[in-house]
């Protein structure tokens, strides 16, 4: 009798503990995955937001826009960062799985910057010249006013949104097989900074230790550097939006987080990191 009372008491305590734990406020977690171009920006956003919202955990990982979109479709991330718009085949998958078209949130603007070695005398290129260089039609710097030396190409992996965007806008075909693919724009910048005859592309936020190449639409146009002014005015020819995608309209903590990103405070971070605000 005494034992059974003890047992009942222990059981009650365990039950109360279980119920107590069940009702304990769980830390609110938002997972963000996708574009490597956006990873520094997304980490900065998360860092600042978590400081003022200590009960929220924002977990940011890269992997590329394609990887992020796959994660959004298979449900393993709440927010997908993408440096390109959703393809129709990806939207079809969202329709099939979630009966939804997905929610697209433009959160920053970026000019795809062309990186050259600081020792390279070339300082401006047309879109066509860039396309010819990255497709392998032009292989010597001499053809674009540089030294008589072979051009070394550095680019992104095909899971990257930057890779896709640059291919669609500039290369307009297949990349040259000699183009060395690197994991992230930082790696491209690093490679170009060590190679006098190297050329690479990537997000502006990563560009340190290299020379930015001016870009012009065609021979007759004026060449521009990717700056907030030229991007805002639509003068810099390789400009794109950076997006956040969600399966459905954001609610709760995710909504608060996205509202903050689109607020003046969130957009200030965009400028600090080296991208350009949407507002």
């Amino acid at each position: 009798m005494k034992n059974s009372r003890k047992l009942a008491l222990i059981a009650s305590i365990v039950l109360l503990a279980v119920i107590g734990f069940a009702f304990m406020p769980a830390p609110k977690k938002i997972t963000v995955k996708g574009s490597d171009t956006m990873v520094i920006l997304a980490q900065k956003w998360a860092e600042i937001y978590m400081k003022s919202n200590p009960d929220v955990i924002v977990q940011v990982t890269g992997g590329g826009s394609g990887t992020g979109i796959s994660a959004l479709i298979n449900g393993s991330t709440d927010i997908c960062n993408s440096s390109r718009a959703l393809k129709s085949s990806e939207m079809d998958k969202l329709k099939e799985r979630y009966s939804s078209l997905g929610i697209e949130i433009p959160c920053a603007k970026d000019g795809i910057t062309i990186f050259l070695s600081e020792k390279n005398p070339v300082s401006e290129l047309t879109i066509k010249q860039l396309g010819d260089i990255f497709s392998g039609k032009t292989r010597n710097w001499k053809a674009v006013g540089g030294p008589d030396a072979e051009i070394k190409l550095y680019g992104r992996e095909n899971s990257s949104g930057t890779y896709v965007f640059f291919q669609e806008k500039v290369v307009k075909g297949d990349y040259a097989p000699s183009c060395q693919t690197l994991p992230g724009t930082a790696a491209v910048v690093n490679a170009v900074s060590k190679d006098i005859y190297g050329i690479g592309y990537g997000g502006a936020a990563y560009a340190t230790g290299v020379k930015h190449c001016k870009v012009k639409k065609d021979d007759k146009s004026q060449a521009y550097l990717a700056t907030p002014e030229t991007i805002a005015k639509g003068q810099y020819p390789i400009t794109r939006y950076l997006y956040m995608y969600m399966r459905n309209r954001p609610t709760g903590d995710a909504k608060k987080y996205i509202d903050w990103i689109l607020s003046a405070d969130g957009q200030k971070v965009v400028t600090e990191v080296g991208y350009f605000p949407v507002k």
Binding site: I73, N74, G75, S76, S88, K95, E96, R97, Y98, S99, S100, L101, I103, G173, D174, R247, N248, R249
Partner: protein, 507 residues
């Protein structure tokens, strides 16, 4: 002093020699060490070169492997049939077990092979090559066996909200896939899709062979007629309301009549065909719409309406038999030889049909999905409910030879005659009954790879036929289960609901 001088001289000579010898020895040791280091570096270089070479080979092999993609899914389920003509009435089964091999040797050229490994029945679902245009990135050419261009046909069975496709789609596009070629136009900057395909036209359709047996031909056409199919869709973005896709598709084909008689949809005589190879039409048109909205999560309403004419080929068999009779009449032996030519024919029939379906799907969170579908299929719109079972065509007749050949030799008469027996008839019946079907389904995505589904399908036949004084209808279908013969009387709604509990694993 002299000795000291001699000692010093010898010492002076020996010591430098000794120093020289030691230096030389040290130099030789350094040289030896250097040689050893050089040898080791050389060996290491060789090893690194070997590793690099192997790495390059491995990378090359790996690059080839990345061009091959594997995906697939298995659907295992337990089904329970309410209909009394199904025995066993419940069982476990593997509904689909598919592996899709996709090989893209160069950008834009894709080979796809997808077998279905159902126990006891391995079939090839997809086997096609696709070439995408590398310049405009707009056109793609498909050749082989692939889905017919239709919304519900192309919607993957692994993603569908309910276990099976609508009755109308299963009727006009049996087995979903067809062998042929397709041109697909998808402009990258324009939310439009156009598909134009040409098919053999008999895929999944049972057609009669020379003996009148119905067979489903594989990998060969039934006739020389080719069927054309086209589909056009356009996507609208409706801002905060979501998105809408509208589209239409058409089918223009013919099938060998295999009969000299063609009937109208109401079983009346339509025409006499010149030969068995003449054709009857398969032509229909459909409109579709899919609406997506975000109402506390994804919500979609999807529907399609299809109407047109579909033909069923006839069955024609012929046989000849010779009979002889000897009869003595008034001292004369009459020897009669009769050649009887029998021709059995089921006329070809062209039926007007219509069908439609509507899905309402709601996703709750990222794991739950509920769906309701209603679909309607009327396989013969030209027959009213009370005409089914009554409408029939019968042109059977027997003709005796009007001029038999008679020869006489003494008191022996020889008679040779040819008689013709024609049977040509077709009755309306169960194949003309309209059906409306409610389907309710709930799916739970345990992970993105594992899905559980419970679905209840309620097919309801339209009450058809005429009811006699005894209270029974004239459209019946007999069946025997466990030695007991019964019949469905379609003047009532037959109980034939189906419960499906399914688990799907996708990779």
């Amino acid at each position: 002093m002299k000795k000291f001088t001699q000692f010093m001289m010898i010492g002076g000579l020996v010591l430098p020699l000794l120093f020289l010898a030691m230096t030389l020895q040290a130099q030789m040791k350094v040289q030896n060490d250097l040689d050893t280091v050089k040898q080791k570096v050389s060996t290491l270089n060789d090893k690194v070169a070997g590793v690099e070479e192997r790495l390059a080979t491995a990378e090359s092999d790996l690059a080839k492997l990345t061009k091959i993609k594997l995906s697939g899914y298995i659907q295992a389920q337990w089904v329970n049939y309410e209909a009394s003509n199904v025995y066993p009435g419940n069982y476990f089964m593997v509904r689909r077990a598919r592996i899709k091999f996709t090989y893209e040797p160069i950008n834009g050229i894709v080979f796809v092979l997808q077998p279905d490994f159902q126990p006891g029945n391995i079939t090839i679902k997809d086997a096609y090559a696709r070439a995408n245009d590398p310049w405009l990135k707009t056109f793609s050419l498909w050749v082989g066996k692939f889905n017919r261009p239709n919304y519900e046909v192309e919607f993957s069975s692994s993603s569908r909200e309910v276990p099976e496709r609508s009755r109308v789609i299963r009727a006009i596009y049996p087995d979903e896939r067809a062998i042929g070629a397709k041109l697909e136009v998808t402009p990258p900057k324009f939310p439009l899709k156009f598909q134009l395909a040409v098919f053999n036209g008999n895929d999944g359709i049972a057609t009669p062979d020379a003996n009148g047996n119905l067979v489903v031909l594989q990998n060969i056409d039934y006739d020389n007629y080719k069927d054309l199919m086209a589909r056009l869709t356009y996507d609208f973005k409706l801002g905060k309301w979501g998105g809408l896709t509208i589209g239409a598709h058409g089918y223009y084909g013919r099938i060998k009549a295999n009969s000299l008689t063609a009937l109208n949809s109401d079983y009346t005589y339509k025409s006499t065909l010149e030969n068995l190879g003449k054709s009857v039409p398969k032509q229909w048109f459909g409109v579709e719409a899919q609406f997506y909205a975000d109402v506390l999560g994804g919500l979609s309403i999807k529907g399609e309406y299809i109407t047109g004419v579909n033909s069923i080929p006839g069955i024609t068999t012929s046989a000849s038999a010779v009979t002889s009779t000897n009869v003595i009449k008034k001292d004369t032996l009459w020897m009669t030889t009769t050649l009887t030519k029998t021709s059995n024919s089921t006329p070809a029939i062209t039926k007007s049909f219509s069908g439609w379906y509507v899905y309402l799907t709601k996703n709750i969170g990222k794991r739950n999905q509920v769906a309701v579908r209603y679909d309607w299929y009327n396989p013969n719109t030209k027959l009213a409910a009370d005409q089914i079972g009554t409408a029939k065509y019968d042109a059977s007749k027997t003709t005796k030879d009007p001029n038999p050949v008679k020869t006489f030799a003494g008191n022996v008469a020889t008679v040779t005659q040819t008689d013709n027996v024609y049977t040509s008839k077709l009755n309306s019946g169960t194949s003309d009954i309209p059906y409306g079907t409610w389907t309710f389904a709930y799916s739970y995505y345990f992970t993105d790879n594992i899905k559980f589904m419970i679905a209840y399908e309620m097919p309801m036949n339209k009450k058809v036929g005429t009811v006699g004084a005894n209270g029974n209808g004239n459209v019946v279908s007999a069946y025997t289960v466990n030695g007991v013969t019964s019949a469905f009387d379609y003047s009532n709604v037959i109980k034939q609901n189906v419960l499906t509990v399914r688990m799907q694993v996708k990779f």
